[in-house]
Symmetry: none
């Protein structure tokens, strides 16, 4: 018995190791163009071995994106705080998001790339988006906000989630570009983020 379980655990462990190495590799100099050979070398595994754990290269990137999203979700979930109003939580949420993107820019671009990926729920046939967990958190906050009256309720929750998420990713995308570009824009990173949230916040609050 225990043997089988150990095997499974070991397999999962190996998978994680690969993923970790892949994370470093793909966020490195070669970017997403790093090859499976590169990955084999830096995991110190055979190239064929990689295919025992992942069906193809794409699935590795996808798994990395998922990992990134989980990380983001964890951080965001700490924001959930019933003692705060919805709008306050959105603000906190923004802070977390920005920090995350600054600390883990690679996961940022992965999320950017895979946020539209559709997964199938393990048992059910239900389709769900990879970013679903993150959107759920946003949804909860907004719901709270509409309930406590701090957030406008003339737009449905789902729509608001989609809007906020889209805008956030858009800003992220701009910020994730080379610094050169922001220099041409003649703008300051910090200010864009703050401005973005200011606009969002003023725009979300319910009008009295």
């Amino acid at each position: 018995m225990g043997i089988k379980e150990r095997k499974i655990r070991e397999k999962e462990l190996r998978r994680k190791e690969i993923l970790e190495a892949a994370g470093k590799l793909f966020s490195g100099k070669k970017g997403m163009d790093a090859t499976m050979d590169d990955l084999a070398e830096c995991t110190e595994l055979g190239k064929g071995t990689l295919y025992l754990y992942f069906p193809n290269k794409e699935s590795i990137l996808e798994a990395l994106a998922e990992k990134g999203i989980n990380l983001l979700r964890k951080r965001l979930s700490r924001v959930l705080d019933d003692s705060k109003t919805g709008v306050e939580q959105i603000s906190d949420n923004g802070d977390v998001f920005v920090t995350f993107m600054q600390e883990k820019p690679f996961y940022g671009s992965l999320i950017l790339k895979y946020e539209k990926t559709i997964l199938k729920a393990p048992e059910t046939e239900e389709k769900l988006l990879m970013v679903e967990p993150v959107l759920d958190i946003l949804g909860k906050i907004l719901e709270k906000g509409q309930t406590d009256g701090s957030i406008r309720n003339d737009i449905g929750i789902k729509e608001l989630v989609a809007i906020l998420w889209s805008q956030m990713l858009g800003v992220l995308n701009t910020l994730s570009g080379r610094k050169e570009i922001l220099e041409i824009y003649g703008v300051d990173t910090e200010w864009i983020i703050r401005g973005h949230y200011r606009v969002i916040m003023s725009g979300l609050v319910s009008e009295k």
Copy 2:
């Protein structure tokens, strides 16, 4: 006499033809992965001929992106209307943008991909972004708005431009996904766009 001019015109015409065919090809089934061979076939030109007009595949996509941006700019510039307030023009602007993206989703994705591309001004060495013309329009409107008091002035013009543009692209990006995704979101395209602009508008207006 006119011979030289005619030749030049013909050359430009051919370039346009190629670009047009490329537009159709790349927006088609194979997407941007369509090969130069594909393009040669569908233009009914030799592969070498293509390289007579464009130095490489990338430059074709870039030219397409530029074409898309010019189209967008033209449409947006019709919005400029001094008889309206800044905030009203932003609203009109949004309508145009959304219509454009719905009608020309392929150009949308190209703009999305190349918006960060840096061009060099023809004579000057000055670098400028491919989307500069569009940003200029946004800038003018916002300036008008800050002047006429309809738009908040606690954020600089440049920052506001960057923010608005980023958010718009973000929304665009979401909308440009497969419909399947929006179904999963359980949201309606139309509503996202309207909601986006509502949030933006409330957020941009100067607080009285």
Copy 3:
């Protein structure tokens, strides 16, 4: 244990196989213009496989040239014979050289093509010519000859080596041409070589 060694040996074997096939191919009808596709076909390997053993086409030709030079060196080194005078050894040397070129005309043309190739000594940074080993042998013989008084000593060893080698290659080049040409010349191969050596020999002997 032996596994690793066997693998290495097999790899080297395969390399040799490729090299051998390449030798036949490039000396064949198409000459050096034979393509990598041709090579893939006649080795019965995938094109990609070739690139596993050689970084590019050039390197294959280079490796062949080196192989040829080694072969030549081996033969020439058998000439070294302290019981003979320098001038006698030069004569023997010439015989070997001529025989080699007649038996392996393809290696001849490769040497002709790559004799100026500069290699870097494995560990040292020292540059050395691909033909260095052959020149070394010539040098030794000439040195012996100057010491034993059979070879003129009014010209330095290095210069003599360069001169002899150049002349030999020149003759080789002439002989490596199509037979048609020598027919036009109206001369006989055999005689050219003999004549060459006679002239050289008389020219090398020290004047008494």
Copy 4:
């Protein structure tokens, strides 16, 4: 009448212009890899026009080689001097050759490349080598030398010509390499040429 002649003269003139430009081009940075486009540009002619004067690229290089050979022949023919012995004339001949190669290294490499080219005599069907005129001069000198007893007569004229010419080209080939190579050899250009002629001269003189 004169019209036709003028046309012919003009055509030949144009041919010469092209050849001259080609000489500069091919001896330039790109070497023989310069393209027909390059040539069209630097002749300020259309690409198609070039093909009115030469059937293909090869023929241009060939014509250049011929031009070079003619130049060399002219210089060498000045050496012919009945008041000198054959062996003296060979020495002069060597001087001319060396000077030529130093002044016109490009023609040098062309001759090297095309010396084996076979032409057909204009009217006769007789085949002859492109370098024939040069070989003729060498032949005359050697003949004189054998007659006046200054040059060994145990080797036939034709063979001697072939030998001398081959050796000379061999030395030329070595000297035409990059300087880097001669530095590795550790030898001096000047000395190689002088040494070459010393060896040759001693080797040619008839033994008394």
